[in-house]
């Protein structure tokens, strides 16, 4: 079928080719690129393909068609025809009157070809084992169970763990007058397939399953814009409908055939419910004297679930009566989301300009309070929490102010001084409010033709107010914990980007970004988070037929996280049990390309090379950490055992392509392409060595792992142009 589709499209392509051959003045142009592909692959096929369909055989890589007639412009495009990652697009336009596009796109996501599971899924969302298997495993001794569970998994057939997005959309823009326009856009994305998910029957037994994905997202936008003199008005409507056809998952317990109090024969997990978000927005922009403009934008929308059901307290029939029913049966979730932007830009003279922005954002979560006086953990036992559990939605209000003043003296550089104040108010978090005060300085060289530099230094101080220690105590957290997305922080960042063009058609680019985050009041949690990034690259076009570029970059990310290993009681306040994770992530990457075109007026040769080398380390440190522990922290000798070092996480990706196209004449070309992909990985939780540990205990996992691959791919191509 795939081949027939590709051939049919090729025939369609050849028809206009023949027509255009007769009509030399025709504006009908295009190309089609097709051929045969073959791959030699060793290793993880899923990670190689990932978001692509790279199967062997015939392929129609690209089809392009462009036409012009009576002032209308048409563009048709097809990519990867009849493959799992195919895309078709049609654009049309009559400048000044109408333009639009329509597109069909598929994006696969291939996670694994080697996952395995003994679950059967005759009903969507139900992962079942036969009663006989559950009874057999239940009857085994505790010591015999792990081997039996792993034998069950190992005896299961492998399957592809994957999903795919199917997206159809289009848009129209109509200009009834030169000063007005109407726009509509509609897009629907259906996603099906599965993704790894897990469920637990307690702290020593977990299962994984391929949770089903079966949801549709439909987005609609309409807007009208009109210009009247110095004013521009825009009004818009947005609608977003998310429909999820699977809102719960039931998974059998391999070690239990019948429900009893404390151990269920199955568990149940909630998945997201369907929801609708509808909104309106408006914008007014006013052109002011002295090269100034004021723009105001406002938006308001409502997000609601579509009669989302709160699941029963448990799937365990032995405790369902004792557990009772949830306080209410439906979610009744709703949020009012509103925003307002005010922008002012002005350049009253060539020496001075100002850019000021005010942004307000409010997410008002109106979820009715939900109280649970009983809880069934892991679908096992019914328990009564010391204090009732309250589900209260998070609300958030942001008010951001930015102002930049740019001075452009009659010299080679411009100086910008900026200030920002970002205020965030939140409910149900450890700080009621956080405020970031940001100062920045920018230096830009003006175009000299030889050198251009942009340097930015930024210093920010974030401070929280209304600290609620009870939010931590209630969660059994250390009172000294500060969640790093809110915690008091001093931040310094410096970036510089420079381009040197010493001779025509050659450019040397260098850049650097240095960042330092100091969480200056966090006894526990993230203490610091720093990065250093450097890059250098050369781009050149020494002649019309030669283009090349090569760049290298080095990235270094480091962070320190502070903790205390403690059970309730005396350990909780014992500083000798403090420890830290010193994490580092170092990356080297190279990107290079060489384009040689019209060699001998016939041959185009393109080569590219990408290399990305990542090394991540997680070093455990017990006791104090010099210069990185809070000064007020009590320094005592550690009473924790010396941790065994984790191996580094390594990831190397090498990709290279050579693409040669020989132009037989203006209409036909033949080509051959070669691609080399190599991925090496060492990951102590997800690689082949970790696979051995997946067999530990009574856990029934999917064997979703990271594995290396090496792929050699060759394409033979024919290109037809008209």
């Amino acid at each position: 079928m795939r081949h027939y589709t590709a051939l049919a499209l090729l025939l369609c392509a050849l028809v206009p080719a023949a027509v255009s051959a007769q009509e030399t003045s025709s504006s009908n142009t295009g190309s089609v690129d097709l051929g045969v592909r073959g791959s030699s692959l060793k290793g993880d096929a899923a990670r190689y393909e990932r978001y692509r369909d790279l199967g062997d055989g015939l392929f129609l890589e690209t089809f392009r068609w462009r036409a012009r007639s009576d002032g209308w412009y048409f563009v048709g495009a097809a990519d990867h025809v009849a493959r799992g990652d195919q895309r078709y697009r049609f654009d049309f336009a009559k400048p000044g009157l109408l333009k639009g596009w329509a597109q069909w796109d598929q994006i696969p996501m291939l996670l694994s070809r080697t996952t395995r599971s003994p679950y059967s899924t005759n009903l969507v969302g139900e992962f079942r084992l036969s009663d006989a298997i559950q009874t057999q495993l239940q009857g085994l001794s505790t010591a015999a169970r792990p081997a039996a569970v792993q034998a069950l998994v190992n005896g299961s057939a492998m399957f592809d763990l994957k999903s795919k997005r199917h997206s159809a959309g289009g848009a129209l823009e109509y200009l009834p007058t030169p000063q007005s326009s109407l726009k509509v856009a509609l897009k629907q994305t259906y996603r099906d397939g599965s993704q790894p998910s897990g469920g637990s029957f307690g702290h020593s037994q977990v299962v994984e399953f391929a949770a089903p994905i079966d949801h549709t997202l439909t987005d609609f936008e309409a807007s009208a814009e009109i210009e009247r003199g110095s004013m521009l008005f825009r009004a818009g409507y947005t609608g977003s409908w998310f429909k999820n056809d699977v809102t719960s998952v039931v998974f059998d317990n391999p070690l239990r055939a019948t429900d009893i109090s404390g151990t269920p024969s199955s568990g149940r997990l909630g998945l997201p419910v369907s929801s609708t978000q509808l909104g309106v927005n408006g914008m007014v922009s006013i052109k002011l004297p002295r090269k100034s403009r004021l723009t105001a934008y406002a938006t308001m929308s409502t997000l609601k679930d579509d009669n989302g059901v709160i699941l029963p307290m448990t799937s365990n029939t032995a405790v369902a009566v004792a557990a009772g029913s949830p306080e209410r049966g439906t979610l009744n979730g709703e949020a009012q989301i509103s925003g307002f932007n005010l922008n002012f830009t002005s350049r009253p003279s060539s020496l001075f300009s100002v850019n000021a922005r005010l942004k307000y954002y409010d997410y008002d979560n109106k979820l009715p309070t939900f109280t649970a006086t009983k809880k069934v953990a892991y679908d096992g036992n019914v328990s009564t929490p010391a204090s009732p559990l309250h589900a209260e939605g998070f609300s958030l209000t942001r008010l951001n102010l930015d102002a930049d003043f740019r001075i452009t003296p009659k010299g080679p550089a411009a100086l910008t001084l900026g200030y920002g104040r970002y205020s965030d108010e939140r409910t149900h978090r450890i700080y009621e409010e956080t405020v970031d005060n940001v100062m920045r300085v920018k230096l830009d060289t003006l175009s000299t033709g030889v050198i251009s530099v942009r340097a930015v230094y930024e210093h920010a101080q974030r401070r929280g107010e209304g600290f609620d220690v009870n939010a931590l105590i209630h969660a059994n957290e250390q009172p000294g914990m500060r969640h790093f997305d809110l915690a008091n922080r001093d931040r310094d960042r410096f970036t510089v980007i420079a381009s040197f063009m010493p001779v025509m058609n050659w450019a040397l680019n260098v850049s650097s970004a240095i960042g330092r985050d100091d969480y200056l009041a966090s006894e526990f949690g993230l203490r610091d988070n720093n990065h250093d990034v450097y890059s250098i690259g050369i781009d050149g076009t020494p002649s019309e037929k030669v283009g090349l570029g090569v760049s290298y970059s080095y990235e270094d990310y480091r962070s320190l996280q502070r903790s205390r290993q403690a059970n309730p009681g005396v350990q909780f306040t014992d500083p000798s049990r403090n420890w830290a994770t010193d994490a580092a992530d170092k990356v080297h990457s190279v990107i290079a390309s060489l384009d040689l075109t019209d060699l001998g007026d016939k041959l185009d040769l393109r080569m590219s090379y990408d290399y990305n080398r990542t090394r991540a380390t997680y070093e455990y440190i017990t006791g104090a950490v010099a210069d990185r522990t809070l000064p007020q922290e009590a320094i005592v000798p550690s009473t924790l055992p010396t941790p065994r070092a984790l191996p580094p996480v390594k990831s190397d990706l090498t990709r290279g392509t050579v693409d040669a196209v020989y132009n037989i004449n203006k209409r036909f070309a033949i080509g051959v392409s070669y691609g080399y992909d190599k991925y090496e990985v060492q990951d102590f939780t997800l690689d082949s060595q970790a696979q051995q540990t997946l067999t530990a205990g009574n856990n029934m996992l999917l064997y979703y792992t990271y594995a290396p691959y090496t792929a050699h791919t060759t394409w033979g191509r024919i290109i037809v142009k008209w």
């Binding site: 978001y51 897990g198 809102t247 939605g393 996280q561 990542t614 990831s651 990985v681």
Partner: protein
């Protein structure tokens, strides 16, 4: 910028990523990491999320009025409403994920359990040192680590979902 080498947009280089990488080299490098969105495969490009000519959102994001708004415009299953919400997923997805790419599974900014322990060191198992000795025996560190059990980490509508295990 506009001496066209690209198929569309009259860009100076063949792809958007190449143009943007001229300045944002660190972001372009991240699409070559293990966890990435389909940018290097050609199914997304910088302008899928960003509008370089201007936007009403932060970071020149094309959709919505916050970082989370932008992410859930495609990942609508994460937008809620939820009975139990994980606060940072409402506040901003980038607390845990790097949308440009990361060496970690699911584009996480650090590897679990270290990532989760940046905020969660409550008594008992969250505060444990998961060293090499536990890698081979504890499901809390091998495979998908914390989210194997806490699988509804973005939010749950189960009455027992306050710890995101149901």
């Amino acid at each position: 910028m506009h001496t066209p080498a690209s198929e569309k947009g009259q860009l100076k280089k063949k792809t958007q990523t190449e143009v943007c990488a001229s300045c944002h080299r660190d972001k372009a490098s991240k699409v070559d990491r293990s966890g990435h969105m389909p940018v290097r495969e050609g199914k997304m490009e910088c302008s899928t999320c960003h509008n370089i000519h201007g936007s009403t959102n932060v970071k020149l994001l094309r959709k919505g009025d916050s970082v989370a708004d932008s992410c859930v415009s495609c990942h609508a299953d994460k937008r809620g409403p939820f009975l139990w919400e994980h606060a940072p997923s409402r506040d901003g997805c980038t607390t845990c994920h790097d949308p440009h790419g990361a060496a970690n599974d699911r584009m996480l900014v650090a590897k679990p359990p270290a990532l989760c322990q940046r905020c969660h060191i409550a008594t008992r198992h969250p505060s444990t040192i998961y060293d090499a000795g536990l890698v081979a025996t504890s499901v809390r560190v091998f495979a998908r680590s914390c989210v194997t059990c806490h699988s509804t980490i973005h939010g749950s509508n189960h009455p027992a979902g306050n710890m995101f295990v149901r």
